[in-house]
């Protein structure tokens, strides 16, 4: 390759030399020398010699076999059976902010409903001018929009209220996914039916065997909720509500009713099982908060983490993680490597969308000594992610849901990482 003028007038060779000097100055590293030639280079590898599969071999592609460990996992002891249960997104292996459809965590109450789209119906009834039935085809004729939002289970990190329990952010923070939804504004469908003035609440109901129901205030329904039929460009996965689910941006995942079959307008909330027995937050005094809808600002270091130890020894390294808030964007995440004695502002990278995951990085030189890692999110309202002790001070240890406390990891000199608590 010949030198070509660069945008700023320097040559490519000059530009690269400059970068090398700057890099050396920043990290004072010396490049290692190999003892012997590397057979990965000196021997012709099979993929360089033999032909690979053709374009007709993989009509719907799957990840490399070397990524077979990047899968959803469940924790058997958490629930009585795997039908009304949960599994976890492998966030420790992912990067960026979009969750691949096949890795989005699942939470079902009656298993996965397998719905024939030709038999799919959505009903709007109650305090409306016209009670209506839509087919999937009808829904797809309304004007659409595309939005990326996180969906976090209200119980994400719920097993950690009493202390460090599960060893890995997949298990402690993996009841979350973030995909690009395509769908119709819920407002558009409600206007088609004509909400009557006394219609202040909406009941959303699923078509599965749990017939999931939640009460949603009309103000939220008319604000940013969506009736979605695509995720990351393709149809919803059956386990995510195929063919249609509700999207309730920033609010607890339970309200994002899957296999959405009915929307009823009423003048009062319904106080159904999932908003009385479940998804209410018990305090130490024996009373409970109800209707705790928003998911507050939260962050998690995804690497290094217990399932993603440091494998490369001292030197330059990348610390990375996710941050999100149900109340806006994440302009800032602070990171500490000494257990909170000193903090630095992490580098945010990628899109900063309302109520969507944000990616942060901290690029630094590890000296090989033990570290205590934490991250602390700030959201666009100014709210700062609290410590677990601060949360417990207010709420006790039995509220199950809405644990957005700061996570701590202890990194040992060998690079292994453990979920810990500190004082």
């Amino acid at each position: 390759m010949t030198d070509s003028p660069h945008k700023n007038g320097t040559t490519r060779r000059g530009f690269l030399a400059g970068t090398a000097v700057a890099g050396a100055a920043a990290i004072t590293g010396t490049v290692a020398r190999a003892d012997a030639p590397d057979p990965a280079i000196t021997e012709v590898q099979p993929w360089a010699r033999y032909l690979g599969e053709g374009v007709d071999a993989r009509p719907y592609g799957t990840p490399s076999e070397h990524e077979a460990h990047v899968v959803r996992r469940n924790v058997e002891w958490l629930t009585a059976d795997p039908i009304s249960s949960v599994n976890f997104t492998p966030i420790h292996e992912l990067d960026g902010i979009i969750t691949p459809n096949g890795l989005c965590f699942e939470r079902h109450h009656g298993g996965i409903a397998e719905i024939d789209p030709a038999q799919y119906r959505l009903m709007i009834n109650g305090l409306v001018d016209r009670e209506l039935i839509f087919t999937l085809e009808d829904i797809m004729r309304f004007p659409r929009e595309n939005r990326a939002y996180f969906l976090e289970c209200a119980a994400n990190s719920g097993m950690e209220w009493r202390g460090a329990q599960l060893n890995g952010c997949q298990y402690t923070h993996g009841m979350i996914h973030n995909v690009m939804y395509t769908g119709v504004r819920l407002r558009t469908l409600l206007e088609e039916a004509g909400v009557q003035p006394e219609g202040e609440w909406l009941l959303a109901e699923g078509a599965d065997a749990s017939a999931m129901t939640r009460s949603i205030p009309m103000e939220k329904a008319l604000d940013d909720c969506m009736v979605a039929f695509k995720m990351n460009g393709e149809a919803l996965r059956p386990e995510q509500g195929y063919p249609v689910r509700l999207v309730v941006p920033g609010w607890e995942g339970n309200m994002w009713v899957k296999w959405l079959r009915r929307l009823e307008v009423g003048d009062q909330p319904w106080h159904h099982r999932e908003e009385t027995s479940k998804y209410t937050d018990l305090f130490a005094d024996g009373r409970a908060r109800r209707f705790t809808w928003e998911m507050d600002a939260k962050s998690i270091i995804t690497s290094p983490s217990p399932q993603k130890p440091i494998s490369h020894g001292p030197g330059p390294m990348v610390l990375t993680g996710l941050a999100w808030s149900g109340r806006g964007t994440i302009p800032r995440v602070d990171v500490t490597i000494d257990g909170g004695i000193n903090w630095v502002e992490a580098r945010m990278d990628g899109p900063s969308w309302d109520k969507s995951l944000h990616r942060f990085y901290y690029d630094f030189e590890w000296d090989g000594s033990p570290m205590i890692l934490q991250s602390r999110a700030h959201d666009s309202t100014g709210y700062v992610q609290p410590t677990k002790d601060e949360l417990r001070e207010v709420r006790g240890e039995n509220s199950i849901y809405h644990n957005n406390g700061i996570q701590t990891y202890a990194v040992a000199a060998d690079g292994s990482v453990e979920n810990v608590e500190i004082a």
Partner: protein
């Protein structure tokens, strides 16, 4: 209601709304005409429910207890049941009717749901006579023990709410690890995952 409409969809027929609109509210809205007694409820419960929830609704194995726990909510180990925690009886009727028995939902008749609900009231000492009959007539007379146990989300009045100053340097003298997940050792074994990675990487 003056917004643009597209003329999509069609009007729902009364039979269709009746088939799907099965929800019940605390004020009794939605309750069908019907009734069932504690003793009838016991019979249905033993036949259809007790294998998971126990003969006395106390729960079997890992399945949810539906009775007991009254007075436990402020303890270290709260037992949240219909009797100890649920604020409204309507929720019992609605949920049993829409989602139970687990694996055979929407198979119970209205009278069977009234009877099961009556039995659950009796097992929770909310009604004391075993000849009690619950019906759409007396349904809203029942008061649940923890009806006043809930309040609206008040996070915005919490000391953790709103912008806060954060410390960036020299925030503590020292820190100490007080708890380790490895000691509990309840995380699913990732050995299989590691093996998959290592064999795949070779």
């Amino acid at each position: 209601a003056s917004a643009q409409t597209y003329g999509l969809g069609r009007e729902a027929l009364p039979e269709e709304v009746a088939a799907w609109d099965i929800d019940i509210r605390p004020d009794g809205l939605g309750l069908p005409v019907g009734s069932g007694s504690v003793l009838e409820g016991e019979e249905v419960f033993l036949q259809l429910c007790a294998s998971c929830h126990g003969d006395f609704a106390e729960g079997a194995g890992r399945w949810p207890p539906l009775a007991g726990g009254q007075g436990s909510l402020a303890s270290d180990d709260p037992l949240k049941t219909i009797g100890s925690y649920w604020p409204y009886l309507s929720t019992v009727w609605d949920y049993v009717h829409r989602a139970m028995p687990f694996g055979d939902a929407q198979s119970l008749s209205d009278d069977e749901v009234y009877a099961i609900t009556a039995f659950l009231l009796y097992m929770n000492d909310i009604v004391l006579e075993d000849d009690f009959v619950l019906s759409n007539e007396n349904f809203t007379d029942i008061e649940m023990p923890n009806a006043d146990g809930f309040y609206m989300d008040d996070r915005e009045e919490s000391p953790l709410w709103g912008p806060r100053e954060v410390c960036m340097t020299d925030c503590a003298e020292s820190v100490e690890i007080t708890m380790r997940a490895n000691i509990l050792d309840v995380t699913p074994d990732d050995a299989a995952a590691r093996e998959a990675r290592e064999s795949g990487g070779e």
